[in-house]
């Protein structure tokens, strides 16, 4: 291809819209767009739509001979179920401070990790725990109860 007469250009006299700049800017623009879009896509990745956690709602068979004031702990669960004259109730045994499992003692519960103490009704008596141990929703009767760890009920609710 030859240059047409009258169209002589040097690099000091650029085209009105330098082609290279246009291509460069277009590349830059698409790169930023692609980067932003894929970043948002990737940011969604770490949080699965459904998480692989065990079911929080389950049935328990409460032994008939459970003495009053003694906790029944279903195998594999972090829940303490009690029966007394007024009915059945369940407390979560996951410490509200940082998630250790509390142990029942004469006064209520104690946490092995940072020394939080809880009363029998779950109220904080000592240490760093920010809130009381939650009472869990219990339904059912006649020895078979359903515990729902996700729904909390007011302290003192018994069925």
């Amino acid at each position: 291809m030859t240059t047409q007469p009258g169209e002589k250009r040097s690099r000091f006299d650029p085209e009105p819209m330098p082609r290279r700049d246009f291509l460069g800017l277009a590349a830059l623009g698409t790169m930023i767009a692609a980067f932003v879009v894929s970043l948002f896509g990737m940011l969604k990745l770490p949080k699965a739509a459904v998480s692989a956690s065990p079911s929080k709602k389950y049935k328990v068979l409460l032994p008939d001979a459970l003495p009053e004031g003694e906790a029944f702990i279903p195998p594999g669960r972090n829940v303490a179920i009690y029966r007394d004259g007024e009915g059945v109730y369940a407390l979560s045994t996951v410490c509200t401070h940082l998630g250790c499992i509390v142990k029942a003692n004469a006064k209520g519960f104690e946490c092995p990790c940072h020394g939080s103490g809880f009363a029998k009704d779950g109220a904080v008596t000592k240490g760093p725990a920010p809130t009381a141990l939650p009472w869990l929703k219990v339904t059912g009767g006649a020895g078979v109860y359903t515990i729902d760890e996700d729904s909390h009920v007011k302290a003192g609710t018994k069925v």
Binding site: H97, L98, P128
Partner: protein, 515 residues
């Protein structure tokens, strides 16, 4: 045609025969590194070595300048890297088998136990060295212009190192691991302490999100193990390597290690140490003329008081590397890495303790999850990063404690730091805290007024007093940094040695009640 063919073939044979020699020469473009000139050009032309400058100042070679702490950290990292890769051959990152595979490594794989011990000890050496290295850089004011950015990078390296250690902690899937991660993940969730108190957790649950992203699930399980594994063996090492490369390269670009103003008087003792620089025809390049200006190391001054990095610096570095290897070997030989029972999500360890370098944190976390786990650490972390931008004095750069009077100030600050943290801790241990006195006190009060925050406030007050007393930001920084270092030591020792079951205070682990 025939003749041309033959001569090309000939040439090929000759080329083939001389290839080894040519490869050798191509490797050492400036010739074999036998003279100072060729050694220098070797350093200059080698991608790994040229992170060093070609010549090293005698000041930088004095052991009291750095105590080799940066190199110890690097060496420890290299050791963990090698042993870590070896461990990866046998380790299986899945809950049911992870614990068994560690047992295999420990009891079946030849040298497996030793490798695991070295891995663990080198990681510990790395944490200690990185903290000391930071203290060294701080006390010699090496963070000052033009090294601010490198302080920043080092700050990132510290965090990455701690993250690497912590993520490695979950992998054995024993009780220690399981409960340390449970606590760690719940610390990530602790902003809920604030959002709960304000009643907005339903709409804005940053804490819950952090925890879920970390664990990949609501519980510590297989998802969490894979995540921690990937972070530990892949993401964090890559981040660390990248930051390290920048860190080293910056040292070079910022003119080597920080030196005191009168450094030439200090090192120029022995005339034999002087290397006659311009006896050989200098080879110059002018390509860098556009970027070179006054502050760049070798502009405006001859390379007096410097020696070629090869071999002087490299031998020193190799020496430190071998010293580190020796330490790790020795520790690995006398002490086994622990492995407790298999993780049991129903019964926590009592006490459930984090790795030792987090026990100071755990101590203040035992007052408030949010302030101890996030609030105060964040404050320290941000403050640490801002140091070079808050202290812009120039006096005493490159000198320990900033010259005369500094050591005394640091001594007093350390005393104050130890005394206040011990006093506050002793008070809290003896008399309890707000919750015991006023059972109905709102949680927000405890979150913001607890022994951890009290210590922090006392430190800040002292540093402001020092700053005004000496009318110097550097003095204030020295006081504050020293106090926090002292506090870190006190809290770590209390958390490690004096806390037992239920996080109660015991004078010695031998007094712990049996259970």
């Amino acid at each position: 045609m025939d003749e041309a063919k033959r001569s090309a073939l000939n040439e090929f044979w000759i080329n083939l025969k001389t290839a080894p020699g040519q490869i050798y020469r191509a490797m050492f473009r400036g010739g074999a590194p036998v003279s100072d000139r060729t050694r220098s050009s070797f350093v200059f032309g080698n991608v790994f070595l040229h992170l060093h400058s070609v010549r090293t100042h005698l000041w930088s070679l004095k052991w009291s300048t750095t105590m080799g702490l940066g190199i110890i950290t690097t060496a420890a990292f290299l050791i963990t890297l090698v042993t870590g890769i070896l461990l990866m051959f046998y380790y299986k990152p899945y809950p049911d088998v992870a614990y068994q595979s560690i047992k295999d490594i420990h009891f079946i794989v030849p040298t497996g136990r030793f490798m695991r011990n070295i891995h663990r000890w080198a990681a510990n050496v790395m944490v200690v060295a990185v903290i000391l290295h930071m203290a060294r850089a701080f006390y010699t004011a090496s963070y000052r212009k033009p090294r601010e950015f490198n302080w920043f990078i080092g700050w990132g390296l510290l965090v990455t190192t701690l993250a690497l250690s912590f993520t490695g902690y979950l992998l054995p899937w024993d009780q220690l691991a399981y409960w340390a991660i449970t606590i760690g993940a719940n610390i990530a969730q602790s902003p809920r302490e604030i959002t709960d108190a304000m009643g907005i957790t339903e709409y804005f649950d940053i804490g819950g999100l952090q925890r879920e992203i970390l664990l990949g699930s609501e519980i510590v399980g297989e998802e969490s193990l894979i995540r921690f594994y990937l972070l530990h063996v892949m993401i964090l090492p890559l981040v660390l390597s990248m930051l390290m490369a920048v860190h080293f390269w910056r040292i070079r670009k910022d003119g080597g290690l920080a030196k005191p103003k009168n450094v030439d008087e200090l090192v120029a003792a022995d005339p034999k140490q002087h290397y006659p620089v311009f006896t050989e025809q200098p080879q110059k390049t002018y390509q860098l003329a556009a970027v070179v200006k006054g502050k760049t190391p070798a502009v405006g001054s001859g390379p007096e008081n410097t020696v070629p990095s090869m071999p002087h610096l490299f031998y020193a570095e190799l020496g430190v590397l071998m010293f580190t290897v020796l330490i790790c070997f020795f520790l690995a030989f006398v002490s086994d890495a622990p492995l407790k029972e298999l993780a049991n999500p129903l019964v926590p360890e009592n006490p459930a303790k984090a790795p030792w370098y987090f026990l100071g944190l755990q101590e203040i976390v035992s007052f408030s999850a949010f302030m101890g786990g996030i609030g105060i650490p964040m404050l320290c972390w941000i403050g640490l990063g801002l140091i070079p931008f808050l202290d812009k004095e120039t006096e005493g750069t490159g000198e320990w404690f900033g010259g005369p009077g500094g050591a005394k100030l640091v001594g007093w600050s350390a005393l104050y730091g130890f005394a206040t943290s011990i006093a506050v801790e002793a008070f809290a241990i003896r008399f309890g805290w707000l919750r015991e006195w006023f059972p109905d006190i709102p949680q927000l009060v405890i979150t913001f007024v607890n022994p951890g925050t009290v210590i922090t406030v006392l430190y800040a007050a002292f540093s402001i007093w020092v700053l005004r007393r000496f009318n110097s930001t550097r003095a204030g920084a020295l006081a504050l940094f020293t106090c926090f270092l002292a506090g870190f030591i006190v809290l770590t020792v209390i958390g490690t040695h004096f806390r037992g079951p239920n996080w109660d205070f015991f004078w010695s682990p031998s007094h712990w009640p049996g259970h």
